[in-house]
Symmetry: C2
Subunit: 472 residues, 2 copies
């Protein structure tokens, strides 16, 4: 499977700044790299038509630089250091009797939550990682080291299969076991472009892929030992048949690539060359080679993604629509509250970009409003357009919620409640790594801001199973 | 609710070593504290009858010291530094129109996974934290800061209600919002003593508690705003009625306390005074006051817990039992494999203590074996005793698995499979924090080490819903 390529392992292990020595030199380098990323991020913000001095953006370049350095710290970590201090002698059984302990007894660590950065588009992706190995030579490795080593390779620009292979190879070289098995369940934001989001109301938020890698006794995919591994993993909902094998399609899972190829023939997009150069310089500052084959198109793909959130990108396109919407509105001032009924549109999807970290957040918007008997509810597509209108910007969730509420309230008669539920990539990447967490914000107008029972009636109508926009 | 006590907040915020300055001084202090904890841990290991120079324990004092320092880093962190760089101006609505954005629009971050250390017994406990606040003054806080601040207080010796109050108070002082609401779902290992584990076969592995704290508009428990908060949290399975209110029982949730009081009258336990002094010195090295009321009994409670895992603690008690078990065994050598049937005992609970970090791991053992037609299966209680026999030691999971298999195989005819599934506290505390992760190990003897279909038949009989011993 190629994952036992010693040459590559040694490169991974040796050609990195060693931790603890040359501290001063690496501190200076660290600062220079951070400053260079900051400069590049300013170029990106200017390209988005933003004012880099406005309060919410002033420290964004520094925040982005820190987050990217932290999120790619794996380039500066040594697997050898991690594993070698944690190999413990552990008796096995005579192999004529059986397999256990330090000789032949399968060890599995399940459900390690990680995130990595997609080398194709620079967005973070989530990984649920399952690691197994079969000890040999009467020694075992400290369990937490299996987690630490996977993290070293996750914290680089990656592609799922390569991540699995690199972790497998590194553990095999580090532990020298009878074999290593890796299964990764990866979730990547699925987003092609604004048009596809508008056209496809059942748009899936995530692309998922299942990859594996094996060495030694796991090298052969049909070896019996894999059956043991899967028997223990079936509890985690993993279907062996769904594992992506290298070469079986070899299409990139990242939607930024399919977007490019699909559109290449129909339309040539103009990408701001200064922004592309800025992203290439970021790659270099992270310790990557921007000319590496897999990274060649990454800067322009990232810029294309970012430009979806250009200031006022959608304004001209939607302004007319909104005006029409308002004119055709059925609202007609005050009505007796008892005559009103609750209308709601739940689970309107949105995409946005956190202005503090230039990282996506996405989720769903729930809108409730009271209308008088005899009047028709407003069309869902109009509400969805308003949601996208404010989503496709550099945003914070609190503002998005307020802006949606402010915009729709004159259309809907003034009694409006808006709930936004979102997963923030900035809460899983960077130092935070709160994988399951998600955020809810509320705006209440008119009667909803004073009448608890009206609020509660609406809030309890929000289904729990769609409340999270999480990827796993 | 007392959580707005400014005096205490200022103590929390000011009386800590500031980060980034006085670096050299704090480095020297750090090293002295770590060395002092190492010395104390050596005293504990000697008190357990262990050889501190054996390979698996040689670096345990250093590992424990590092883990404890890391796990209590909150004593050395400043809330002010975290929050004040991340307050952003954000428009609200005219409050005659409604509540949203930077004025009145409720913001909730759900499902933050944390861990903390129980001040009563020094074991880590898990926390699922939900934070809400109502912005005022046209400003909001960066969402990730809600997570960072909760973490500052979680990384101290705590008790659930105090943790909730301190986080609430710190956020209120830091953000100056209209109000802050905190809900914590806490899970603590429930373990009284070896006897209670032996006597109660339905022994629950976890004590759970739900606590809340509120300031400002949340200060009144029956305020309408709590209804909104709970409406959004109901999706997380939280039942408002089950929240523990201060004073309603005021019994400590930690089972180490109920153990002490229940036994005080019947039996006076002798606790090694050198070990108790060692634990008190650890508390001091972590920056705590060992004389603080809540900590007064902690050293002796921790030593009592630890002594359950004393080397050869159970040996004399169980050796006779095991010999009897062996003599009464029904196995009688080789039988035609086709005549054999699969017997299994699933979900035998165990408790153990990781010898690398002196932290508990516990979970379940599944045992399968083949017996000839006409013979009766071995009694469950014997197998459970063997499991406890090897669990109540300083252990690693791989060795536990092997030892159980080695011991029972002569009783069970030689065709034996043992699967151990466990949650390791050392995987959630320390720097790892892989909350959902858990570990499986296997030993196979006789036919199970060569016959894949026999293995698979057994492995697939393990129910998935009890496979994890996780606390949440």
């Amino acid at each position: 499977m190629g994952c036992l390529d010693e040459g590559r392992f040694n490169v991974e292990v040796e050609n990195v700044v060693s931790i603890g020595c040359a501290c001063k030199k690496s501190c200076v380098e660290e600062e220079a790299n951070t400053a260079s990323i900051e400069d590049a991020v300013k170029v990106l913000l200017l390209g988005l038509g933003e004012d880099v001095n406005r309060e919410g953006l002033r420290k964004t370049p520094l925040r982005v630089a820190k987050a990217l350095r932290e999120g790619t710290r794996g380039y500066r970590q040594k697997v050898k250091d991690i594993v070698q201090g944690a190999l413990f002698p552990e008796a096995g059984l005579d192999n004529r009797v059986g397999l256990a302990g330090g000789a032949g007894g399968l060890v599995i660590v399940r459900d390690l939550d990680l995130f990595s950065y997609c080398e194709s588009c620079l967005l973070p992706f989530q990984v649920k990682c399952h690691v197994g190995y079969v000890p040999s030579g009467q020694r075992v490795v400290g369990l937490s080291k299996l987690s630490r080593v996977t993290d070293v390779f996750a914290k680089r620009l990656q592609e799922p299969q390569r991540l699995a292979d690199e972790v497998c190879s590194a553990l095999h070289q580090g532990i020298k076991p009878a074999g290593v098995a890796i299964i990764l369940q990866c979730s990547h934001i699925h987003f092609r472009d604004i048009e596809s989001v508008f056209l496809d109301s059942n748009h899936q938020g995530w692309t998922k892929i299942l990859v594996s890698s094996g060495s030694g006794v796991f090298e052969n995919k049909s070896a019996d030992i894999w059956a043991d591994f899967f028997s223990l993993l079936k509890f985690r909902g993993i279907d062996k048949e769904k594992i992506h094998f290298r070469g079986s399609s070899d299409q990139c899972w990242c939607s930024s690539q399919s977007s490019l190829s699909a559109k290449a023939s129909s339309k040539i997009e103009v990408v701001n060359p200064a922004m592309v150069t800025a992203v290439a310089s970021i790659l270099k500052s992270l310790g990557e080679d921007p000319l590496r084959k897999e990274l060649a198109g990454t800067p322009s793909r990232f810029v294309k993604w970012l430009m979806n959130f250009q200031n006022s990108n959608l304004d001209m396109r939607l302004n007319g629509f909104l005006c029409n919407g308002m004119n055709s509105s059925n609202t007609n001032g005050k009505v007796n509250l008892n005559d009103k009924k609750l209308c709601s549109e739940l689970n309107l999807p949105f995409w946005s970009q956190c202005e503090h970290h230039l990282l996506p957040f996405h989720g769903v918007v729930h809108i409730g409003y009271l209308i008088s008997e005899g009047f028709n509810p407003i069309g869902k597509s109009l509400l969805q357009s308003v949601v996208h209108f404010y989503g496709f910007k550099l945003q914070v969730q609190e503002r998005l919620t307020r802006q949606i509420a402010e915009t729709i309230t004159p259309l809907l008669g003034g009694d409006v409640i808006v709930v936004v539920e979102a997963s923030h990539t900035c809460m899983i990447s960077r130092g935070i790594e709160k994988f399951g967490s998600n955020t809810a914000t509320i705006a209440t107008l008119g009667r909803f801001s004073t009448d608890t029972s009206a609020r509660t009636m609406f809030l309890q109508s929000i289904p729990s199973d769609t409340s999270s926009a999480g990827g796993q």
